[in-house]
Symmetry: C2
Subunit: 395 residues, 2 copies
């Protein structure tokens, strides 16, 4: 069974669970305004106004421009594929009238960007069309549907993520041997890009910041590309990096320490910082299981740092990973307005999360480790091979 | 001056022209839900809720997550860059209250996808926030602003497009020598991908369909990837392809004919088809100038085919090209519902269009040529070197 067939079947089950009759993904020119749900529904892009309809009890129907018909048919996932030339409207209205769904879930959400693929202009168009048949007040948010579909990873999806994690770890191992005093963040990043290229791998996010490399104190903040700053003795070096395999991402961070002089070991403040991070990750992993809320897991990790007098990290402890490095709705995060309801969404089996606390060791740099875990019934298990030891780089 | 500075300055002029006080681009996690206007406003992606504000008379202000502050500051295009950790709301409301704009243009549009980057969920969030200060009824569509900004190409932008056209034509020349009977569409595409890769160029659209290669009669429709179908004597072969240079696209098509047997020339039906296409393109180019409407240009080309008894092509004659292969709002197209108001938008100097009629020669294949033109005061001039002769491939 292809991914698309499998995901559409899963969507049907989710519609039953949430008692929603029909899920409608409404898009156009998806290279320009992509709906993040589309990758589960077709293989490639759609050009003209297109409607992908999954109904709880009835058929899955795609209505697309004539030129896109064949590639949608090729997925084998739709009971019917309708191609049109001049306007989607008569086909869409006829199809919806026939299905007569009590609720029509469409892809918008204030809380979750992965469920918010419908643009406002397209919402207005759809609303206008559906009002012609008096169905516009049946529109509801598909947030619950799309969230569940993204986060309940099938075995096929988990296998892709495992492969991405393995490929990423191999490159982390290689770059650990490349880092040494005098090399710049940019040179280290270039080495990583070379490794990716020879393994024919794609970066999991914006290539200008994947990898992100930080050496020493007072570096640029996260979300900043590598600079010409050079590694020096006494620096903590950290790297945030991941690759994609078959469209699925890894997202990991590792830290190294550069000996202050020949033969010197890791100083106690750096070691204490690293040990705190590792303990925060393991504490969070043990707390993470179906039924708990992300805010509790975030709080558990945050407490480990606070208890030892470190500042709290200015971001969530962890996010889901999937087709995007930042995926899913449920988040291991604090109650900050920008996170909306995400930290309160219940954790489910099949979710893949990062765990990524960070802290600053004054004068040395930022210590940060990011692992990935898979939530199963009753536990969360590492997908990555957790960094247990701060790697010492000789001066 | 950087592109972003130049485009923000241009946006200010456009705001004055349309008498709109303020243009607000409101985004989050732009790797997941990118707003197509963003490429003119920042260099890279934004993670948390972000507001990019250009005011007609006042400053340009960016409000972004703390981690994105530095990369936005680096553009040098904003008078103020505000970074936040927990919520954008107090910063956004304070800024908008201070600017007190009578109209706030945001990126939604039913007619034009390149102006429709605001998701419906983000619209709801913005509307709710602005209603706290009673400003929600000042929201208007930014369609006119974003359209003008995209379509009035600066010299810097036109230079990038010229470079992309040249690089694309080089690859077309090379592939013309590679095509011969027995080679499959997929093999021809692989050759093109190899040429792109060795020139370190990126495809201008979805790599699975860039290039698109079609050989002989009864091929897959446009918007379909290359297949295992092999070139045979008597086939018309056509290819749709373009590369990007510095983020700007080319989009061209060329046709070849494979001699039916050794020494045979182009048969009269294929030659007549090719001549018709070339004449339709040249007729359209002469018709295209500031002030006319796209529908008139489309009609002029369509008439050339109709007069000779060919079916009309089931798509628009031409679209704009820019950062996307399909860019801009004004379109050289017929009055079909899916095109909305696009064929009626007035043509302006600075627009770059494709001209791409097509026709079928029964039993031989699809003849299609796509050129690119730049609209100036009073005329439109080729950016591509127009295909004047159907290239004959020996059997």
């Amino acid at each position: 069974m292809t991914l698309i067939k499998e995901k559409i079947e899963q969507a049907r089950q989710i519609l039953r669970e949430y008692q929603i009759d029909c899920w409608l993904t409404f898009v156009r020119e998806t290279q320009i305004t992509p709906d993040p749900a589309l990758q589960f529904l077709v293989d490639g892009d759609l050009t003209w106004h297109s409607a992908l309809i999954v109904s709880q009890a009835g058929p899955a129907i795609a209505i697309v421009g004539a030129y896109d018909r064949k590639s949608v048919e090729d997925t084998g996932a739709y009971d019917e594929v309708i191609g049109y030339v001049q306007s989607i409207r008569p086909h869409l209205l006829k199809t919806i009238t026939k299905l007569d769904p009590k609720s029509i879930a469409v892809n918008y959400s204030e809380d979750s960007e992965v469920c918010d693929g419908l643009t406002h202009g397209m919402f207005l168009t759809l609303n206008k069309m559906l009002s012609e048949i008096g169905f516009h007040d049946r529109i509801v948010s598909a947030e619950k549907i799309v969230s569940a579909l993204r986060q309940r990873k099938t075995r096929w999806e988990v296998d892709r993520i495992r492969a991405a994690v393995e490929a990423t770890e191999k490159i982390f191992d290689a770059v650990g041997k490349f880092i040494r005093p005098g090399r710049s963040e940019e040179e280290i990043a270039e080495f990583v890009r070379g490794e990716m290229s020879s393994a024919q791998l794609q970066p999991a996010w914006d290539p200008r910041m994947c990898p992100a490399v930080f050496t020493g104190p007072d570096t640029a903040e996260a979300h900043y590309g590598p600079t010409s700053r050079r590694v020096e003795p006494g620096h903590v070096v950290s790297m945030d990096f991941g690759v994609k395999v078959d469209g699925y991402c890894a997202d990991l961070q590792r830290s190294w320490y550069v000996a202050e002089k020949k033969g010197a070991s890791v100083p106690s403040d750096v070691q204490a910082g690293f040990d705190t991070i590792v303990e925060a990750i393991e504490t969070a992993r043990r707390c993470l299981k179906p039924g708990v809320k992300g805010i509790e897991v975030d709080r558990a990790a945050r407490r480990v740092l606070a208890d030892r007098g470190y500042d709290e990290f200015p971001h969530a402890l962890g996010h889901q990973v999937g087709r995007f490095a930042h995926d899913g709705s449920a988040l291991l995060g604090p109650e900050w307005e920008k996170y909306g309801n995400k930290p309160f969404e219940p954790i489910e089996a099949g979710m893949v999360f990062t765990l990524e606390p960070r802290l600053t060791v004054p004068g040395k740099g930022i210590v940060t480790v990011e692992e990935m875990v898979l939530v199963s019934e009753g536990s969360a298990d590492y997908l990555s091979s957790p960094q247990q030891k701060l790697v010492l780089i000789e001066s």
